[in-house]
Amino acid sequence: MIKDIPIIAEQAQQPRRTNPLAHVFDELMNFARSRSLFMLHYCTGCGAIELPPAMTSRFDMERLGIQPMVTPRQADILLVTGYVSIKTLKRIILTYEQMGSPKHVIGICSCTVNGGMYWQSYATAKKLDEYLPVDLYIAGCMPRPEAVISGLQKLIDNIKHGKSDNWKDYYQRYDHYLGNQQHLFGNNWQTPTDVIGEAREYGLFGPQTLGQHTELLESVQKPLQPLEMKL
């Protein structure tokens, strides 16, 4: 029912930390992260109908420290609940890029794995992990609240042990993801977020961050430079 997606990208070389307490601090932060997950309130598909039961009185996700949040800025986990139509996928990518890292994507329902029963539909994207780095799939049509919660517990476990940093993969293999996005949305595809700049700024630059697809992007895009204060 729950399946880990193996992390394909090679880990970027982390700077060695000499402070002996750094390790303890990392453990603490990982623990806090695992115990406090804000999930984005975005019903992308029909699996969202099983989230209210999971959130509310009967299954109560708040006891695991999970609570719904409204905007992507506040959220840590993006639950893609079910099939993603192409129109929605654009919004999901926008939303994902607006979220602050560490961020986690959970694909709920079979449709996110391979298109599910809509495999021949012209309107839905088939494999979510082509467009976004997925941390965890919870398969089923649709998975029960118990399955959702057990999947979330698995994610919590992964975060606690520092194993769930697929979000770095998005920066490190941005070219790959962007290529798939361009394939589906056309060559003019651009989001307001400057992912390459972010990767550069946070030291998440990987060998596959840049490539032919990002070149294409840079040839068409009007980059949105932040409004710097000018005297």
């Binding site: 919004r91 700049g197 949105l224 409004l227």
Partner: protein
């Protein structure tokens, strides 16, 4: 030659320079220096604030057997300081690029310089008035000088200025009538004689001159039913002129009221003076007029969509705090009221300067056509931020201290309703100033403003100087309070027991040094907490939450119009009915009055007119 003579001569010299060189490109700079010289001249008299002393001018006339004298005391000095500083900074602001653009846009820069210089001169003369007649002469000079400043921009300002002069003439008539009444009793215009006779007058007889004088001076002060002229007149005056007017002009009314109410009648008498057939005293009436002057204009400001109009309406509202504090009559209240004159002048000028800078760059002060300018005009934003915190009366700026003194006094005097009224005014101010700064500087930057730059230094320097003053006098209110204490000693009010950081008192003291210190320490800790978090990166404003949609450049998503809709659904009808009714009532009443006044002027020579009025009123008093 006394220092006062030097001062007045310097001021006259300024006018002359303005007349001669006002149209030159360097004229503004020269004028700035002469204003600085005036300030220097004033500083020669700084000793006035320490002891209740008077510096007389050697200039004096004798007309119709009445000698006209001019003299300065601590009160005059304090107001003169604000006047000259306002003139100095306004001219400095005008002297640079602003003036160039003003001229290029077809404005008459020469006239603007002359008008400001004339205003300063006339105000200095008014502030030096040594008797009732010079008070009236100074008053008339100030009225006409302000009129000149208001009208010079042409266009919509002409109507506003004419409205002003109508009100002012009505007020002048009332003053003249009041003076005539007093003269009828004393045969003399000197203050001591007037004070003597006013002390001895019976209640009913005292009411007539008091009412006439308060009404007359209240026009300039823009007390509640007589306030309708002010906002439009100030707002339509070109940039620095508006700052000058907003800072000091209407405070001349307060000065005259202080002279009449406190120096001549005596506040004790006002407090005791009952309103006929009722249980309230004259002070209550004045206090409530002040309270309504706080509330109504403030909430009118809330509805304005033009930045200058909004500020001008606030100028009226803040006048209410000054009067409210003064008529409380105790050390704290009067200190608060007097200090608010200085505080208001500083932040109001800074705000007007900032708005003028925005208008200079964008060409509009319409709050619905601006937004997001903080990224482009950060210094103007800073000045406005400091200014609005002062205007709203929040710590750590100076507006907080003066308002605190007024609140404290209202608490000690046991005036819960007035206290609530004052707080309502402050809250209304907070609401409207947030609207001001939000609609201009925060929110979405309009695409046509993407490439504008900060205003030049000649414009930002005056506002930054003022911002520093606003902050420093907020941090160390004792600097201003020492002048206030001098005034209180001079005019016979209880003297405030101040310290550098505020005041010490058994029933609750205020130490701004501590408050500001702790506040900034708090900010410091907040900053440490903040910067100990992860790194941030800046994003463009189109990278924004829009319900999951992509924002594009052609979408206007800046929330500006009808900024407080929930509140307006509740109190909006009040604006439509009460305010409109009040405005039309006052307008038609004053229209009638001004028409009749106009008739008098046309048919009767002014000198005779005064005589006739005096006779009529005397008859009424005798009967």
């Amino acid at each position: 030659m006394t220092p006062l003579d030097y001062l007045l001569l310097l001021s006259l010299l300024t006018v002359v320079i303005a007349l001669v060189a006002g149209h030159r490109s360097m004229g503004g700079v020269w004028l700035t220096f002469t204003y600085a010289a005036q300030l220097g001249g004033l500083m020669l008299m700084a000793g006035l604030t320490n002891q209740p002393d008077v510096i007389t001018s050697s200039l004096s006339f004798t007309i119709l057997g009445q000698s006209l004298t001019w003299r300065y005391d601590a009160l005059s000095w304090y107001f003169a300081l604000i006047t000259i500083s306002a003139g100095l900074l306004s001219t400095m602001y005008t002297a640079g690029d602003w003036g160039e653009k003003f001229r290029a846009d077809g404005g008459n820069l020469w006239l603007l310089h002359v008008a400001i210089a004339l205003n300063v001169l006339s105000m200095l003369i008014l502030l030096g008035s040594g008797d009732l007649l010079t008070l009236f002469i100074g008053w008339e000079l100030v009225s006409w000088a302000s009129f000149l400043l208001m009208i010079l921009a042409g266009g919509p300002s002409i109507q506003a200025a004419i409205r002003y002069i109508t009100y002012a003439m009505g007020g002048a008539m009332a003053i003249l009538a009041g003076l005539a009444l007093i003269y009828g009793h004393t045969d003399s215009f000197t203050y001591p004689a007037a004070a003597n006779i006013l002390h001895s007058l019976s209640t009913a007889h005292l009411w007539a001159p008091l009412l006439l004088l308060t009404l007359g001076f209240g026009v300039k002060m823009a007390l509640l039913p007589l306030h309708l002229w002010q906002a439009a007149a100030y707002a339509h005056t070109p940039g620095p002129g508006a700052a000058f007017l907003g800072a000091i002009s209407s405070r001349m009314g307060l000065y005259a009221l202080i002279v009449v109410l406190i120096q001549l009648v005596g506040l004790v008498r006002v407090i005791e003076l009952p309103v006929l057939f009722s249980f309230i005293s004259a002070r209550d009436v004045l206090a409530w007029v002040a309270a309504f002057t706080i509330i109504f204009p403030t909430f009118t400001a809330l509805r304005q969509n033009d930045a200058r109009m909004l500020l001008a309406w606030h100028g009226i509202g803040q006048g209410g705090y000054m009067l409210l504090g003064l008529v409380m009559g105790d050390a704290l209240g009067s200190a608060g009221g007097l200090m608010h004159v200085f505080n208001h002048a500083t932040y109001q000028a800074a705000l007007f300067f900032s708005v003028a800078a925005v208008v200079y760059r964008t060409g509009t002060a319409d709050l619905n056509r601006l937004g997001g300018l903080v990224a482009r005009m950060p210094l103007s934003f800073l000045a406005m931020l400091v200014g609005i915190i002062g205007l709203a009366g929040l710590p750590p700026m100076n507006g907080f201290v003066s308002k605190w003194l007024v609140y404290r006094s209202l608490m000690l005097e046991g005036e819960p309703l007035l206290f609530v009224a004052a707080v309502v005014g402050t809250l209304g101010t907070i609401l409207s100033v947030y609207k001001l700064i939000h609609n201009m500087f925060l929110g979405q930057l309009r695409v046509e403003h993407e490439n504008i730059r900060e205003a030049p230094w000649s414009m930002t320097a005056p506002m930054l100087i003022l911002s520093v003053v606003v902050f420093v006098t907020g941090l160390m209110p004792g600097l201003v309070l020492q002048w206030i204490a001098g005034i209180q000693a001079t005019v016979g009010l209880p003297v405030i027991d101040y310290s550098l950081g505020g005041l010490d008192s058994a029933q609750g003291s205020l130490d701004m040094l501590w408050v500001v210190g702790v506040l900034f320490a708090g900010f410091g800790i907040g900053a440490v907490l903040f910067y100990s978090g992860g790194r941030t990166h800046r994003v463009h404003q189109l990278d924004n939450y829009a319900g999951g949609h992509f924002l594009s450049a052609d979408i206007r998503y800046h929330y500006s119009d009808n900024f407080y809709p929930g509140l307006m659904r509740l109190i909006g009808p009040l604006y439509r009915y009460s305010f409109a009714w009040l405005e039309s009532a006052v307008q038609s009443g004053l229209g009638l009055l001004s028409l009749s006044t106009q008739g008098f002027y046309r048919r009767v020579a002014p000198a005779n007119y005064a005589l006739v009025t005096a006779v009529l009123v005397l008859l009424w008093v005798m009967l």
